[in-house]
Symmetry: C3
Subunit: 358 residues, 3 copies
């Protein structure tokens, strides 16, 4: 294979080169890993400093830097509108993702005769599609995807190996479900009677709207009577728990290991960092942001940013954390003050006594 030159690659992404257009480029790589025959990108000005110490042969950078080479940077530069986009475009040249073969409906998949499957679907060996399922067009169900009876799946959905949909789960269009995610398992509902937990039947279902992505090993429990629902465009990372009866708004983004107890509701554009926990029946307001590991026990107003456990508004919590780090010193000061005040008490008593005498 002959390597493309920097000039050729720049052409592919409509960029202007500052540096050696004849440089042979062997791959794309991240800023801190790229070598002399690799091209990287700076997506954000705050990474410009790292570029100075990078060994990268070339770097895609925003067109706004054209003219003035950033100080201390010697790497060849390619000015483009969107460095990240451009880098991904080049990545596809070096590492073409092989389009999976069109296999249609594998004879080794189990498809119920009462299931309906749209045109253009790829159903891999070991997939299991139960009775009365309806699947739209151009969906891919990888090996072992299990679709329970009565499920509805829209068009262009992508279900990775061993994703499990219990009965009556509904997915919109362009939904991605990663490996071993479980949608529609029973909610954790019991009544405590006679010294034992008695199961409350979970008769509801799960609804995932268009353009959602559900991470690997994430679990979304079915509602007790109605739906547990995930709004349009919402993205859930891996190992997340969504309890029964939760209703998530549109375009939420939850990082991994977040846990929502039952009946939590959220507005649109809510963001949770990793390992956040939310108590049952809490509402997370539109556009609010919860910091990593935050523990939420009461509803969060629209647009608020809260962190910590128990969660508090960010500025307040940071102030408290700052003072907390000074606690040992404060305790010492407090003890000192106690002795000094005791000494003052003694002196003032003396003075008062002698004043009374005189």
């Amino acid at each position: 294979m002959s390597w493309p030159t920097l000039g050729e690659l720049a052409l592919r992404v409509g960029g202007e080169v500052l540096g050696d257009t004849q440089l042979a480029i062997h791959d794309v790589a991240a800023l801190h890993k790229a070598g002399p025959n690799e091209i990287t990108f700076v997506g954000d000005d705050k990474h410009l400093r790292q570029l100075r110490s990078s060994a990268a042969g070339a770097c895609l950078i925003s067109r706004k830097h054209r003219g003035a080479r950033p100080e201390g940077v010697t790497t060849a530069l390619v000015f483009v509108d969107d460095p990240q986009d451009a880098c991904l475009a080049l990545a596809r040249i070096f590492r073409p993702q092989t389009e999976p073969a069109l296999i249609g409906i594998s004879a080794k998949a189990h498809v119920s005769p009462t299931a309906t499957i749209g045109s253009g679907c790829q159903i891999y060996p070991g997939a299991f599609i139960d009775d009365d399922v309806e699947i739209g067009r151009d969906c891919t169900l990888y090996p072992g995807v299990c679709v329970g009876s009565g499920c509805r799946i829209g068009d262009n959905c992508l279900l990775y190996p061993y994703a499990v949909l219990y009965p009556n789960v509904r997915l919109g269009h362009r939904v991605i479900v990663h490996a071993s995610a479980v949608l529609g398992a029973d909610g954790f509902g019991y009544r405590f009677r006679g010294g034992r937990f008695e199961k409350i039947p979970q008769l509801g279902w799960v609804e995932v709207a268009d353009d959602c992505e559900i991470g690997a090993c994430t679990t979304i429990d079915r509602g007790m009577l109605g739906a547990t629902s995930i709004g349009e465009g919402t993205k859930l990372d891996n190992l997340i728990m969504i309890g029964h009866n939760c209703e998530l708004g549109k375009h939420n983004a939850f990082a991994s290991q977040v846990g929502l107890a039952g009946s939590v509701t959220t507005g649109d554009y809510v963001r949770c960092a990793g390992q956040v926990g939310v108590a049952d029946h809490v509402h997370l307001g539109r556009g609010c942001t919860l910091g990593a590991k935050a523990g939420i026990h009461k509803s969060i107003p629209d647009g608020d940013t809260q962190i910590g456990y128990p969660a508090r508004p960010e500025q307040e919590q940071l102030r408290i954390m700052m003072v907390t780090s000074k606690l040992p010193e404060m305790r010492k000061t407090l003890k000192d003050l106690e002795s000094r005040v005791a000494e003052l008490d003694r002196l003032v008593e003396q003075l008062t006594a002698s004043a009374a005498e005189s």
Copy 2:
């Protein structure tokens, strides 16, 4: 379909109607979601207030309210002994759960010739049952359930897709294991020798007693020498970790994402809220309750309620949390006091000096 009337439904659950018995009912729904042709329930008096603002056409409510219509409530009421039970009974009318077809032992399942399977079992395609397994009567193993060699499963168990039992796992009767739960993987045991972790063979097994339910993607590791055991009637939610050699008592209930390190023991009736973490060799006493995200480093006495990290008895922790929120103010007060005491020092010194002079 002609809709049933409120009067007809009331008859089905032995209820008395206060309101329009002719009202057509189309479905059951949760209190905050029910519309004018839906029936809901109030299971707990603390939700009575929400009923006033509900759009529900009708509501199942405890018979003890008979006679006096709760203030501000205009919804038609149906007085019953147990509103939640009644609502679930009606839910089954509107949304009958189709009994899965009896498929027997699918030819597409792999069943070892040395396995024994009781009468009435449903073994779905893709299930894998290894050598010397014994399964009782009337169990259902959904697609891809994997049962390792030497496992024992009692009667009436329900194993959802891709539940995995490593060799020698033992389930009692009426155990439910949800999708992608993993029972019997190796415990996390190593010896650090010569700069490397050397695996300690995990030769034990997992025992789950009667009437337990194990959530989706929950993992229970096998013991090193003996059993990791889950007591009768204990319920584990999704994404829980139970480390090797743990011994859980009866009728525990753990919410999702709880993690127990190795060799934890619990009494009966222990409750853990979500994301609780428990260090190794700790004992959780009978009837104790741990709040969400609690971090437990030492054993908890019987009946105690602890919260927070590090966990403390609830009242003590709440007091500390309350004071913590006032820390910035306390720090300011402390600094003020320091200056005031310094000023007092100065004044008292002056006074003492002039008293000495006079």
Copy 3:
């Protein structure tokens, strides 16, 4: 079956008996569970006290105790070099692990004609091996293991049921992947444009070096451009999240439910206790240790031990936690001091006034 005597077992592990060599031994068991016909071990002197109250018939114990029977201990003793090793050796006598039958490549597995599989591999029914996969010698792939196109697997690897490798994942030699672990799912990468999250293609892969062990339901996301990598000998417990672009050093050990956001790097010999969370782009220095539930927002120096949230060096955090527990008392002291200082202010003012008068 005739039970072996203590004397016979001692011979097997090269031990010297202090006690009844004719005692029949029925099994090995943990210290607190062993009965009069069972043998246990004390691996660590701190468990010697528990031995006094143990009902065990016999106990393997370090040869250094030879001569002096530990005070209060009446159990028969077997002195050996390494009590844990000896106990595991005996465990294999009582509970021989049946070697799984050699099945070769099951006809019920799906193996692409373009895949290469080394000699001595066991491929179970339901395994799925896609195009251009290369697998080394003597690997075992249990039921339903899914290996995406272009994956590379070394020799002597062990993949448990439903372990999923997305395309282009690379495993070294002697790697163990437990059930339902997911390697190579898309990283959680989006750009927020026009009010929606737009997926950033994840074009990288996952690399796991020799001698790693990956726990059940653990997920390791693929890099965006390059590799997410796990260094040689590193052990990950269950339900762990490793975000995209992370690079873990050698011989790390992470307990269950740890979560690493994207682009975290670690040195060698890093240890994380359960439920630790690490923010993106943080570096965990060589040999550092993070306590259970620690929340890490900035890089940790080599060799440091940090605990808590936000994480701080252990000694500092313990001091802060100790003072925190005294906060309610400190607040009371502070209030007392305020009144006492106010009273002093009043008295000193009086004294100053009368001094001015006189």
